[in-house]
């Protein structure tokens, strides 16, 4: 059922060799390709048929759901609305990702609009990888949206990665944090050539004792451009931190705009931002251990985006 190309895309975006263990939902060219549910994880198509609803039973432990999307149909722009309802005290890993293969001059794209309701004391680990390939000249676009609602004491750890080949990306991440909840977002984006990526993050620390840490790592090669907005708004006694680092290679450009808003006297918000070339002392150190200049550059970028 999976052809060689599907397998390559799945391997890259979801680290899968063949079909995953546990629950999964594989979408190919806008249609359901395969689905499996488990005792604790239910997946159903939503009422208007535009996406899926994944429901995780309260108390579920150590389970995972894979929901990869693969695209190889010329001219298709696939939009999907997925909801995740994570029951109280559940612990789950969700692996999403989109792989595009573009073989013609017609453009292809995907917009995954995901919302997460993370129940009391539940923990979700969300891993999302974006990747595009193919010899075609059509543009590959990915415009993901994630909306997260964290109930009391809930934790969401989100790893959002755009590896390579995506021409145009416009991402929106929104999160509202309940009391005592924790949100960790790590976003890594590599662009090259004439690619462009924009990411907007709006994080609202609503509940008392909530904590958020947003880390962004960007690498711009060629003439590519990245724009990064991170807005943190504190409405209670809470802690928030934004750390965004961008490495410019070649003629890449970057705009980084972290913004902090404290609407409560006990809010603690901090940010660190940097844009620049690879630090010389890092290159020199690795060369003094025997790497060539190019090897040193690759090693530093690899670590930076790890």
């Amino acid at each position: 059922m999976l052809d060689a190309l599907d397998k390559k895309l799945l391997k890259t975006v979801a680290d899968l060799e063949g079909l995953p263990k546990g629950a999964y939902n594989i979408r190919k060219n806008g249609k359901l390709l395969d689905r499996q549910i488990s005792a604790n994880i239910d997946i159903e198509t939503n009422a208007d048929g535009t996406g899926i609803i994944v429901t995780i039973k309260p108390g579920t432990k150590n389970e995972s759901v894979h929901i990869p999307v693969i695209l190889s149909q010329a001219g298709l722009f696939d939009v999907v609305y997925n909801s995740f309802i994570i029951g109280e005290g559940a612990e789950v890993t969700i692996v999403a990702g989109c792989g595009i293969h573009c073989g013609t001059s017609e453009s292809e794209g995907h917009a995954g609009i995901h919302d997460f309701q993370v129940g009391k004391k539940a923990k979700v680990n969300y891993v999302e990888k974006h990747f595009a390939m193919g010899e075609g000249s059509g543009r590959r676009t990915l415009n993901p949206t994630t909306k997260v609602f964290l109930d009391e004491g809930a934790t969401a750890e989100m790893e959002l990665t755009q590896i390579s080949g995506v021409d145009e990306a416009d991402r929106l991440n929104e999160a509202t944090l309940g009391p005592g909840s924790l949100l960790l977002i790590t976003e890594r984006v590599l662009t090259e050539g004439e690619q462009r990526a924009e990411s907007t993050n709006n994080i609202i620390l609503q509940g008392s004792g909530s904590r958020a840490n947003m880390i962004s790592r960007s690498v711009m090669k060629g003439n590519s451009k990245q724009i990064f907005h991170a807005n943190m708004e504190a409405r209670a006694k809470c802690f928030g931190h934004i750390e965004c680092d961008a490495i410019i290679m070649d003629n890449g450009t970057n705009e980084t705009m972290p913004a902090l808003k404290a609407l409560h006297p006990d809010a603690e918000l901090t940010h660190e931002a940097s844009i620049g070339k690879i630090a010389n002392d890092q290159l020199t150190k690795l060369m003094s251990l025997g790497l060539t200049y190019d090897q040193a550059v690759n090693r530093i970028i690899q670590g930076f985006l790890k």
Binding site: A279, M287, L289, L291, R299, G303
Partner: protein, 251 residues
Amino acid sequence: MLELKKLYFTIQDDDVDIGAKRNIIDGIDFTFEKGKFYVITGPNGSGKTTLAKLIMGINPISSGSIIFEGKDISSLSITERAKLGIAYSFQQPARFKGITFRDLLAIATGNNDEKKFLEMVTRVGICPLSFLDKEVDARLSGGEIKKIELATTIAANPKLAIYDEPDTGIDLWTIGPMVSLLKKELTPKTTTIVVSHNRAFLDVADVIIIIDKGRIVYSGDLKSALPLLTDLSICTYHNNCERDKDVGCLR
């Protein structure tokens, strides 16, 4: 094993009138012998780090030449010199993002052998095993990063190792083991150059070299070096030094 011939490192000095040049390294001639333990000392800003970087190829030499094991390496890159067996421990080690101590050891040794790493870290003794998976980033303390820097240099198993102030930020009880590691265990297999003001290193040096204003003003044993060392260490007026004319100078 290492010969420095009429070595100069000259910069355009922006403090002085435009066009003025300053020799940071001002004509150094010296031969390092295989298997000996050298300690380079001298006041802050005298050119010790610059000299070390010239040997490693991090700074380009302005004139003169560097001969390593009979081969002129003056125009070789850092990488080529590393491959010939020269290693340098930075005074201010680089901090990375997403690179661990283990990663650096893998680069230095060219392999990924867990057993060898553990053996290596145990032997170095000064870094706990728990350091292996630490990221070599801005969160490390000054002492921790110096220990990691030293270990990566040793891991490269060099013929010539240069340690630039390896003792700064290191706790007192680590200095003894560090000195004995570099001196007893690694020299004479490795020719060692340590840049340091620390008496613990000076005490065990085969040869002490004192650098002042980019020149070697002394090389020899500790006993004859001591009077000079006490003199130089109090002089912090190099920037406005009028040399022999300077009446206010304690020397």
